[in-house]
C-alpha cells in the first residue's frame, strides 16, 4: 500500500517537474492578439472603420468592441483572414461599395498647389513632402491611398489616381471555366 502511494507520488512529482521544465524551456512568446490583428490590416490608416487608424481598430476588435467587417481597403480578404484568426464567422462587408474602389495614390496638381501644408499635417504616413509656401509632392511608393489629404486642401488640387498594373505587378487572372458552348460556339 505505502509503496503504491509512494510510486504514484513519485511519478506525479516527476511529471510535474517535466511539465514545469517544458513550460519554461518551450515557452511560446505570446503574440498579443491585437498585434496579430494589426498585422492583418492593410495599414492604410484611412479611418474608414471609424477608428483613428489601423492599430486602434485592431485593439477594438481584440477587445470585442468592433466587428471584423469594417475595413474597406482590406476587403473580403482581410475580413476572411480576421475571421480565421479569431474563429469568428465571416460576414458581409459593412461598406461593399467602398471596398470595390480600385487602389489609388494621391497626386498633387503642382501648378495649383499654394503650399499651405494642410495636407502634410493630414497624411498619416508622412508621404507628402514640401514646406510652407513651397509646392508639395506625394511620394508615390509611400502613399497608402487613404484619401485623408483631400478634404483639408483649400484649393482642391489633390486627386486620387488609380494605380495601373505594370508587367511587374500584373496578376494572372483566375482561369475562367470554359463551358462546352463557349468552346465550340
Amino acid at each position: 500500500m505505502i509503496t503504491a502511494v509512494l510510486t504514484i507520488a513519485g511519478l506525479a512529482s516527476l511529471f510535474g517537474l517535466i511539465l514545469g521544465y517544458s513550460a519554461i524551456r518551450f515557452r511560446v512568446e505570446g503574440d498579443p492578439i491585437a498585434d496579430q490583428i494589426d498585422s492583418l490590416l492593410p495599414q492604410t490608416q484611412c479611418g474608414q472603420c471609424a477608428y483613428a487608424g489601423c492599430r486602434p481598430y485592431a485593439e477594438a476588435i481584440a477587445a470585442g468592441e468592433a466587428e471584423i467587417n469594417r475595413c474597406p481597403p482590406g476587403g473580403e480578404t482581410t475580413m476572411i483572414a480576421l475571421a480565421e484568426l479569431l474563429g469568428r464567422d465571416p460576414m458581409p462587408l459593412e461598406d461593399e461599395a467602398a471596398a470595390e474602389k480600385p487602389k489609388s495614390v494621391a497626386f498633387i496638381i503642382e501648378a495649383d498647389c499654394i503650399g499651405c501644408t494642410l495636407c502634410i499635417q493630414a497624411c498619416p504616413v508622412d508621404a507628402i513632402v514640401g514646406a510652407a509656401k513651397q509646392m508639395h509632392t506625394v511620394i508615390e511608393d509611400e502613399c497608402t491611398g487613404c484619401d485623408l489629404c483631400l478634404p483639408p486642401c483649400p484649393v482642391e488640387c489633390i486627386v486620387m489616381r488609380p494605380l495601373e498594373a505594370t508587367p511587374r505587378t500584373w496578376r494572372w487572372p483566375f482561369p475562367k471555366e470554359i463551358t462546352a458552348e463557349a468552346a465550340h460556339g
Binding site: D38, L41, P42, Q43, T44, Q45, G53, C54, R55, P124, V125, D126, A127, D141, E142, T144, A165, T166, P167, R168, T169, W170, R171, W172, P173, F174, P175, E177, I178, T179, A180, A182, A183
Partner: protein, 523 residues
C-alpha cells in the same frame, strides 16, 4: 570525350513529337537590319535598366543606351547606329499584353560601330571579378529563356565551390531549334565561352548535356572540342524526353544529384549555363562585343519559310515574320516561345528581346483551342508526368480554392511550369494557368504586405513624433505654470494647505452655527 558516361534519369516527363525538322531544313540566315528597333528596358529577371541616352541623341552600334541599376539587372546596347526617337511605353512580349518602357532607335543605315572595350584574348591573366565585370557590361543574360543576369549567376564567391559546369544544350521543347542552329554554326565560339566560364568559376569538370535528336550539332561540337584541344569537356547525350532541359532535370540526368526544393544548383556544387549564353560570353570577352543580337526560331505552319534567324534585338516580331515568308492563311496564333511554355501574343509588333528563343506561328492544329474543363477525376496521370515530383491535382485544388498557404505547402514554387500535367490531363484542366494565377497572387500579397509594413512603420514614426511634440509642449506649459506659482506663493507646504482647508471648514461651521443661533434669538 567519353560519351559512354552513365546518365541517370529524372522522374516523369513526356516523349512527344518534336516538330523540329520544320525549322532546321534551311540554314541559319541573318536578318537584315530593320528600320526601327524597340528595346524594352526590362528584358531580364530583376530590375529594369535605366536609360543612359536622351531622345534625339545619335548612337553608335554597340553603344550603351541603358545602365544596369544594381546587381540583378542588365544594361542595354544599341544594336545598330542611328537616332533615339522615343523613350516611352510600348507593347512588350509579356503574357499580360501590357506596355512597358522602351527605347526606340531609328537606324541610319550605316551600322557604324561605337568604340568597344579591349578584347581580352589572354583572359587567363584576368581575375574572375574582371571577367564578371565584362560579362555584366555586355548585358548578357541566360539566353535559354529565363533571362537571369549572367554576371550575377556566375558570381559564386561565398558559396561552396563548383564541381561541375553544366552546359545546357538539351533544347527539349518541341519546335524550338535556335540552340541547334547555333551549335551547328558557331560551335567554336561555344567552346571558347565554355573555357572562359570554366576558368571563371574554377569548375573541376565540364559537361555538355544534349538531346539525342540533334546529331549534327553533336558532331559539330565534338569537332570544335577536338580543335580547341579541350578534350576534357564531355558531351553527354541524353534521351529526348521533355523537359530534359529544365535546370534541375538536366542536373539530375547528368550527375544523379537532386537539387533540393527551393534550392539552387550551387547547393549540389553545380552551375548551369545555356549554350547561347556561352557563345555570348566568348563575344564579350574575346571580341569586346555586347549582346545585341540573338538567334530566333520562326516556325509553325502559320509562317511561309520557317527557319532560324540571327536577329538584331529590338526587331519587331511582325517584321521578322515578314522576313520569314510572312503569315500563311493557316495561321491561328502567334506564340512567344514554344508550345509548352510559351504564351500567345496579342500584338505582333512587340520586339524580339534577349529572352525570345522562338516565335511559333501556330495553325489551329498546332495550338488547338482549349477544350471545356471538366471536374478532376483523380486519375493521377498529372502526378505521373510531373518532373518536379509534385502533386499537380492537389496544387490545382488549393489554387482554385485560393488557399495560398496550402498550395505553398505542396511546393507550388518548385513547379517549373513545364505544362506536362496539363498536357496529359484527361479532364482538360488548364492546370498551369491555375499555378500561374496562384504564384502571381502570392507575389501580390507579398508586395502588399511589404507596403503595409512600410506604412505601419511610417505611421508609428509619425505617432511617436507627434507624441514627442505634445510632450514637449506640455513640458513647456508646466514649466511656465510652475514659474507663475513659485512667484505667487513661495511657502506652500503640504500641511498648510490642509490647515487652510480645515480652517475654512471651521469658519464655515462657526458661521452656520452663528446663523442658526441668531434667528432663534431674533424671533
Amino acid at each position: 570525350m567519353a560519351d559512354q558516361r552513365t546518365t541517370w534519369s529524372f522522374y516523369g516527363g513526356l516523349r512527344m513529337d518534336d516538330h523540329k525538322a520544320l525549322s532546321t531544313e534551311r540554314p541559319l540566315q541573318r536578318m537584315p537590319m530593320p528600320a526601327r528597333l524597340i528595346l524594352p528596358l526590362q528584358q531580364h529577371i530583376g530590375h529594369s535598366a535605366e536609360p543612359a541616352v536622351q531622345v534625339g541623341e545619335q548612337v553608335k552600334k554597340g553603344q550603351l543606351v541603358a545602365n544596369a541599376v544594381d546587381f540583378v539587372s542588365a544594361p542595354l546596347h544599341a544594336p545598330t547606329s542611328g537616332t533615339v526617337i522615343e523613350i516611352g511605353d510600348r507593347p512588350i512580349p509579356h503574357p499580360s499584353g501590357l506596355n512597358d518602357a522602351c527605347i526606340v532607335i531609328e537606324a541610319d543605315g550605316q551600322d557604324a560601330w561605337a568604340e568597344l572595350p579591349e578584347p581580352l584574348p589572354d583572359y587567363h591573366a584576368h581575375s574572375s571579378a574582371q571577367l564578371r565585370e565584362r560579362i555584366r557590361w555586355a548585358g548578357i543574360v541566360g539566353l535559354g529563356g529565363a533571362a537571369f543576369p549572367t554576371a550575377a549567376k556566375v558570381n559564386t564567391s561565398g558559396q561552396r565551390p563548383i564541381d561541375s559546369l553544366i552546359i545546357n544544350a538539351a533544347e527539349c521543347e518541341p519546335y524550338i531549334t535556335c540552340d541547334d542552329a547555333l551549335m551547328r554554326e558557331r560551335a567554336g565560339d561555344i567552346v571558347d565561352g565554355i573555357v572562359i566560364l570554366r576558368h571563371l568559376i574554377d569548375a573541376r569538370e565540364c559537361l555538355i548535356g544534349i538531346e539525342d535528336n540533334k546529331p549534327e550539332a553533336i558532331a559539330s561540337l565534338r569537332q570544335a572540342i577536338t580543335q580547341s584541344g579541350q578534350q576534357d569537356i564531355e558531351i553527354v547525350v541524353v534521351p529526348s524526353v521533355y523537359p530534359s532541359g529544365g535546370e534541375k532535370q538536366l542536373i539530375q540526368l547528368l550527375t544523379g544529384k537532386a537539387v533540393p526544393s527551393h534550392g539552387l544548383p550551387s547547393a549540389v556544387g553545380v552551375l548551369c549555363q545555356n549554350v547561347a549564353t556561352a557563345a555570348a560570353i566568348a563575344d564579350a570577352v574575346l571580341r569586346g562585343r555586347p549582346l545585341i543580337e540573338r538567334i530566333v526560331t520562326v516556325t509553325g505552319h502559320g509562317v511561309g519559310q520557317p527557319g532560324n534567324f540571327l536577329v538584331p534585338l529590338g526587331t519587331a516580331a511582325d517584321v521578322l515574320v515578314q522576313h520569314a515568308g510572312g503569315y500563311t492563311d493557316r495561321v491561328h496564333e502567334l506564340i512567344h516561345g514554344g508550345p509548352m511554355m510559351g504564351f500567345g501574343l496579342r500584338d505582333d509588333r512587340v520586339p524580339i528581346t534577349k529572352g525570345t528563343n522562338c516565335l511559333l506561328a501556330a495553325s489551329r492544329d498546332e495550338a488547338p483551342p482549349a477544350e471545356p474543363e471538366r471536374p478532376c477525376i483523380r486519375c493521377g496521370q498529372c502526378a505521373e508526368v510531373c518532373p518536379a515530383q509534385l502533386l499537380p491535382q492537389q496544387l490545382f485544388w488549393y489554387a482554385r480554392a485560393r488557399d495560398f498557404d496550402k498550395v505553398q505547402d505542396y511546393h507550388l514554387f518548385d513547379c517549373i511550369e513545364c505544362g506536362c500535367c496539363a498536357y496529359v490531363c484527361p479532364a482538360h484542366i488548364p492546370l498551369v494557368h491555375y499555378y500561374r494565377f496562384a504564384k502571381t497572387e502570392i507575389w501580390a500579397q507579398e508586395r502588399d504586405r511589404e507596403k503595409s509594413d512600410l506604412a505601419r512603420r511610417r505611421h508609428e514614426a509619425r505617432q511617436a513624433r507627434l507624441e514627442r511634440l505634445e510632450r514637449q509642449r506640455k513640458a513647456r506649459l508646466r514649466k511656465k505654470k510652475e514659474a507663475l506659482e513659485s512667484k505667487s506663493g513661495a511657502s506652500d507646504a503640504v500641511d498648510p494647505k490642509k490647515a487652510a482647508i480645515e480652517a475654512a471648514m471651521q469658519r464655515a461651521a462657526a458661521k452656520k452655527a452663528a446663523q442658526q443661533a441668531a434667528p432663534s434669538s431674533e424671533d
